[in-house]
Amino acid sequence: MSAEFLAAGPSVVPARRRLSGSGSAALAVVVALWIVAAFSPLFSARAAEIRLGERLQAPSAAHPLGTDDLGRDLLARIVVATPVSLGIGLTAAAVSLFVGFTVGGLAGYFGGAVDLLLSRLIEVVLCFPVLFLLLALAAFLPPTPLTVILAIGLTTWPGDARYARAEVLKVKDLDYTRAARAAGASTGRVLWRHLLPSVLPPLIVSAAFGVAWAILAEAALSFLGVGLPATTPSWGGILGVATSYVEEAWWLALFPGLALFLTVAAYNLLAEGLRAGASERGRT
């Protein structure tokens, strides 16, 4: 969804003017993060190099952020984990939003039997114990990024769906929608040209939180030990290890936590900036 939204080029232009202060700072951070991610393969050899003799070393010139429990360079590991977290966060949120908006939007727009059926589907997934599903998935499927994306995306969409449904219900009988329908516009056209733009601003709030949440969820899953495999560096995974060494290796908890925090915060602020711009446009 975010990719789609960013691709909506011209519509964001008025927003750009408003991306002052925290918004543009966030944009800079996000761009910087992706640059880091692009160069991360350069660090992968260093991130994998185990030196037991250098385990749990405090930050120094040789290891700017210290070393982890196996003597690997923490900076390299955090860098290598960057594309993983960014990628999983974006994709999982996109999956969730796409499924959620489709199901919720259709339910809200068509109402009646469609609504009835789709709402039951939303309810079943909504009431399904997420944690249990995640543990079951972790036991059934190999621990790959795809598994994690599916686990997050397929358990979070009902929230987006209910929200989308409510928003569509709110606007579908407004005058301009009615007018479009009266003018003979097709259902698809009404949905995409008239309803989507009007439900977009609140959905962007939801999507922004969605990306942030997905990145956090990935970290939490890895933290609980049911996310990515131990050998794939991930911020949550390093934090999970850090809990065993809280007092003696503060850097192990601090730096991946900061990276996670910075990324999530940057995404949130960027999206918030875009949201402000979009609603500005909606007003005119």
Partner: protein, 544 residues
């Protein structure tokens, strides 16, 4: 909005204030007079049952050690000592054992512990429908259990077994309290009928459990009036509770031990007790697989694991490399059998010899079109196991072998292991008793589903030695059989044996009489029942 933030701050300050008030109050600390005779202990989790036969987990064992006595016990030197029983006699053919109960052994209502109780307990353990993982393996070839007099009973087995007497380190349940109720749902499982020095006083689920003196206790008097168990799952939290004074003992790991060494507050109130026990870690291999069926390959893998580095760094020096399924202090372990060295070059030669070469130049060794590529399982709670595995995988990659670490939560891990659907798995072996017999894990008759030989290991010579040792009643001859077996295990490498590490406990300085043993602090008699505390908070001298 400002007001609301104020409310939040208020909540936080009220909390802080209340907590301080608590700390400055005179009564609650364990050093205060009223608490002198209360021992504050730690449980990792909630006991699932207090039925001694159905116990499965450490918390249950820790509580029951105070409440339920065994027929026999191990003392700190691992000798069998009489407890509820006063003597045991074996028949000349070694198949029948007659056990006589001690006349003064009574239940908490003063009635004697009877042979009928013991016979009932043994039959329950052997009953296929009783889930008793702790005691069932001890009575697998039971023939019968009968009362022979009002003080004695006789137990018959199918085969003679050198370590049979250890089977009677087992509890006794009162038969009359299980009459007419389903065994697994008896009220006694929540409120056990005591024959030990303490009985249950209260139990707050997920919080704490309190024991009080058993008025009819018949052994030597214990020091403490009350034992308070706190349920604290996290080591870290327990460490802080110990230093704060609301706990008298806790298990710690190498990392917490290092922290304790640099922590003045800890030094002022507590000490560390460290000792080697009989537990060890190893990596099980499915020897049916083409990768692991050749002893040369298994030896090569052992030589690719830097066990000295692991002992020095991951265990911070508190571990010893092993070369067979025993801790170095087990009599079965032969000190002259030195572990294989960490030697990647020699390992590479062995792999070449066994036909595992990189024929297609992709960096991975292969043989007959199959790449050397396997999955290494580890249970998710096994932190050091995961660290060992990751170290191992990195070294394997340098040697042209691809391996993946996969962490599984316990139930799935065990199921993969038991169903034989694993390639390699990191395991920790913990000894319930000093029995060194490796039969159940490494004898070829013990392949699943019959036994626990999950790696489907088979070595005819090893089988023969294990069979012979089981019926060899002369201890020194038996030990020399095990020493021969040890050499075979090192060279044939049925698994990758890793290390035996120390157990570390942090204890309040007030505790005295804490005896360690190769079985740990708790699985021995008197064990914690013999612990005492100095009366004065500043340690002026022991109390009477």
């Amino acid at each position: 909005m400002r007001r609301q933030l104020g409310a939040l701050l208020l909540l936080l300050t009220v909390g802080a204030f209340a907590c301080r008030a608590r700390e400055s109050a005179p009564a609650p600390s364990p050093q205060a007079a009223a608490s002198d005779r209360t021992l504050f202990r730690r449980l990792f989790g909630e006991p699932g049952t207090l039925n001694a036969v159905l116990q499965t987990d450490v918390p249950e064992q820790l509580v029951l050690a105070y409440v339920s006595r065994n027929l026999f016990d191990f003392d700190a030197g691992l000798h069998l000592v009489p407890s509820l029983a006063e003597r045991i006699e074996a028949s000349p053919d070694g198949l029948a054992y007659t056990i006589t109960l001690r006349p003064e052994a009574v239940w908490e209502d003063g009635t004697p512990v009877t042979p009928a109780d013991a016979v009932f307990t043994i039959r329950k353990i052997a009953d296929p429908s009783t889930p008793s993982p702790l005691f069932k393996p001890l009575f697998e070839d039971l023939v019968s259990a009968e009362e022979v007099s009002d003080r004695a009973f006789q137990v018959r087995f199918r085969k003679p077994y050198a370590y049979r007497a250890m089977s009677f380190v087992m509890p006794v349940l009162p038969v009359r309290r299980f009459a007419g109720v389903p065994f697994d749902r008896a009220p006694d499982n929540r409120r056990p009928f005591a024959n030990g020095p303490y009985r249950l006083a209260s139990w707050k689920p997920q919080e704490s459990l309190v024991l009080e003196r058993n008025p009819k206790s018949w052994g030597p008097p214990a020091f403490f009036d009350r034992i308070l168990f706190r349920i604290l799952p996290e080591n870290d939290v327990a460490y802080r509770a110990l230093v704060e004074g609301s706990l008298d003992e806790t298990l710690i790991d190498a990392s917490l031990k290092d922290r304790a060494a640099g922590d003045a507050a800890f030094g002022a109130c507590c000490r560390v007790l460290e000792f080697y026990d009989l537990d060890y870690s190893y990596i099980a291999l499915d020897t049916r697989l083409p990768f692991f069926s050749d002893a040369r390959v298994r030896r090569a893998l052992t030589m690719l694991l830097d066990r000295d580095g692991i002992a020095a760094h991951l265990y911070r020096g508190s571990a010893r490399v092993i070369s067979g399924p025993w801790a170095p202090q087990s009599p079965a372990s032969d000190p002259s059998v030195t572990p294989l060295p960490f030697d990647p070059a020699a390992a590479a030669r062995l792999l070449d010899e066994a036909g595992w070469r990189d024929t297609n130049g992709n960096g991975i060794r292969d043989r007959g079109g199959r790449e050397f590529d396997f999955e290494l399982l580890v249970s998710s709670g096994n932190t050091i196991g995961r660290e060992i595995d990751e170290t191992f995988v990195a070294e394997l990659a340098r040697a042209g072998i691809r391996a993946h670490v996969r962490s599984l939560e316990w139930a799935s891990f065990v199921e993969r292991l038991d169903s034989g659907s694993f390639e390699a798995a990191s395991l920790a072996s913990s000894a319930p008793d000093p029995n060194p017999d490796p039969y159940a894990y490494w004898h070829s008759s013990q392949w699943p589903p019959r036994g626990l030989n999950s790696g489907y290991y088979k070595n005819a010579e090893a089988d023969r030695l294990m069979d012979q040792a089981r019926t060899e009643m002369d201890e020194s001859k038996r030990i020399s059989l095990y020493h021969r077996l040890h050499r075979i295990f090192r060279d044939d490498a049925p698994a990758i044996f890793v290390v035996n590490s120390t157990k570390k406990y942090a204890l309040r300085r007030r505790l005295e009489g804490v005896e360690s043993s190769p079985l740990g602090l708790f699985a021995i008699w008197p064990g914690p029942v013999g612990w005492r505390a100095t009366a004065a908070p500043r340690g002026k001298g022991p109390s009477p």
